[in-house]
């Protein structure tokens, strides 16, 4: 078995449409026509992924950011917050792995994910991250609850906490590394959207499970995460322009609008009323639902853009 080839070095910095696309059509003497298609049929395939995948994105994001939160809380001596965070990280991992497995066409072959390590495959990288971080996070959570193996638990927390942010963001790169226009073109912003969303949901979860007296950093994380997510989403839309239409239309559009509203509202409530019980509950709740809606919106927008050939043809045409 040959090792999969890495992208050619000389092409690495070629830019999105580097090379010589103009010479793609050799010798054509015909002027370009406007957008046309084959009976309106899609050019690329819609993903075969199902609901488990956006749910995994959410769970992974929650787990990753929570692990990070848990580690810093431990270092900061906020053990109450650390416990909440590690519980959330362990739960996120425990929920995420089955989701990931069940989306496979051959679930029993899940371990094949670790057959090779490929930097060209975000899913491969993510699988390895999950493979290292998942057991560590779960172990840390259990150890913390049971109060056993404290030194081993600290080591596990270090591993999980350091890898956590990567688990939260790699899924943005995962969808970006496809031919789906609204994913690929959003590749520079999606990890930030997911990072912000993950931070906010980790903070929200911690807020819900931690006494207010210990939850200050979690509340602040909710607000920062919300700001990060909203900002990144804004940047994403600006970059995509016309191509970003699927984020504004149909189911994806509805979820995107809901996500934005809930994230903004959640952040605001958390910032202004986060110390009160009602505000805490409302802010965290809004934030968690908003984070899930964000993932669902991104997931659906991918399908919508794959189904319509214009999102494939028009940008490519513009480059020719």
């Amino acid at each position: 078995m040959s090792a999969p080839a890495a992208p050619d070095g000389d092409r690495r910095d070629g830019g999105r449409r580097g090379g010589a696309p103009a010479s793609r059509v050799r010798g054509s003497m015909v002027p370009e026509a406007e957008f046309r298609s084959y009976y309106g049929r899609p050019i690329i395939k819609e993903p075969v992924w199902t609901w488990e995948v956006p749910c995994y994105f959410f769970a992974g994001g929650l787990a990753g950011a929570s692990a990070s939160l848990g580690l810093v809380a431990r270092l900061a001596g906020n053990h109450r917050l650390a416990r909440s965070a590690w519980t959330a990280a362990g739960a996120g991992v425990a929920a995420g792995v089955p989701l990931l497995v069940s989306d496979l066409g051959r679930p029993e072959r899940f371990p094949y994910m670790l057959r090779v390590f490929k930097v060209t495959s975000p899913l491969s990288v993510g699988s390895w991250v999950l493979a290292a971080m998942g057991p560590a996070a779960a172990g840390a959570a259990v150890a913390d609850r049971l109060g056993v193996f404290p030194r081993l638990a600290r080591a596990a927390e270090a591993v999980a906490g350091l890898l956590g942010p990567a688990l939260a963001t790699y899924t943005g790169t995962l969808v970006a590394d496809t031919a789906v226009p609204v994913w690929h073109e959003a590749g520079r912003e999606l990890p930030f959207v997911f990072a912000g969303s993950a931070a906010a949901s980790a903070g929200a979860t911690a807020v819900l499970s931690t006494p207010a007296a210990d939850a200050g950093p979690a509340r602040r994380l909710v607000v920062t995460g919300a700001l990060l997510e909203l900002g990144a989403a804004q940047a994403l839309e600006r970059r995509l322009g016309e191509l970003g239409q699927p984020y504004r239309e149909g189911e994806a559009g509805r979820f995107a609008r809901a996500a934005k509203a809930m994230t903004a509202a959640g952040g605001l409530v958390m910032a202004l009323r986060g110390r009160r019980r009602a505000g805490r509950l409302a802010g965290a709740g809004l934030m968690l639902v908003g984070a899930m809606a964000t993932r669902w919106s991104v997931y659906k927008a991918g399908f919508q853009s794959a189904a319509d050939p214009k999102y494939v043809v028009a940008p490519q045409r513009a480059q020719v």
């Binding site: 496979l104 090779v116 060209t120 990072a195 007296a213 200050g216 950093p217």
Partner: protein, 257 residues
């Protein structure tokens, strides 16, 4: 393994008669299941409509009423492009997709775990997951036949040599001669598609002579392998990861409450 010359297809659509022998020969040889619904598409003579997990050759039919030159009926047999920079292969997390000694891209059915990542990665919409089976499938360029010194089943069955199989370099030369002769014969719209190694997929193992724009045939006009942008994507991911970590750390500024 020892790598020989890169093998591939040159599909000259100017002599395709739409007989679909390639579709049938492919399915017969590779034991690909019937997947078409038994209802009329209404789109000319195309009832196959797209490549997929159980359709590795697809003949497109395009009827064009052109004001100046009257009616034209384009036919074209589409197939996996066996890209030089093959996104499906590169994103495959299990190594099920690999590049063979013939320079082709093949799925190992005994490795594929059906993660489905290759499906949206392909800029041509070629590879797909067979839902009842769970694994991804696509054209193998008849890897087994190549081992036995045979040409792929579709090329063998093609009556008019619209599908030509051979060493890619030789096919490139042949294709350029064919375009020149068509231009001389007044077929100005003849052009080659995916023969250029400087394009977004690094050139293809299966390239085409088309008589209209690629999108008319359901092909992307300027496909780019998604992994070409991976360095940028990874940089963004790293930055986002660091940002997340920083955000978490920053949350602790200001104390416990």
């Amino acid at each position: 393994m020892t790598a020989g010359p890169r093998m591939g297809f040159f599909t000259d659509t100017s002599v395709c008669i739409g007989c679909k022998a390639c579709e049938v020969a492919c399915k017969e040889w590779n034991m690909v299941p019937q997947d078409g619904p038994l209802s009329l598409s209404g789109n000319s003579y195309d009832n196959t409509m797209a490549l997929g997990a159980s359709t590795w050759r697809h003949v497109a039919f395009i009827e064009q009423q052109r004001d100046d030159q009257g009616l034209r009926w384009l036919m074209s047999s589409d197939v996996c492009k066996h890209c030089s920079s093959a996104a499906c292969l590169e994103v495959c997390p299990t190594g099920a997709l690999f590049r063979t000694e013939f320079g082709t891209v093949v799925v190992q059915a005994d490795v594929c775990n059906g993660c489905g990542y290759c499906v949206p990665a392909c800029p041509f919409g070629v590879i797909d997951r067979r839902e009842d089976d769970g694994r991804a499938f696509k054209c193998t360029l008849c890897y087994d036949r190549l081992h036995d010194g045979l040409e792929p089943a579709c090329a063998k069955a093609c009556p008019t040599d619209s599908i030509q199989f051979g060493e890619l370099d030789e096919l490139h030369e042949r294709a350029r001669r064919r375009v020149d002769s068509l231009h001389q014969a007044g077929v100005a719209e003849a052009r080659l598609y995916l023969e250029d190694e400087r394009d977004g997929i690094g050139g293809a193992g299966a390239f085409f002579l088309l008589l209209d724009e690629p999108e008319v045939y359901g092909l992307p006009p300027d496909p780019v392998s998604t992994t070409r942008d991976l360095p940028t994507l990874w940089r963004a991911a790293a930055l986002a990861t660091a940002t997340l970590a920083a955000a978490v750390a920053a949350a602790f500024v200001g104390g416990r409450r």
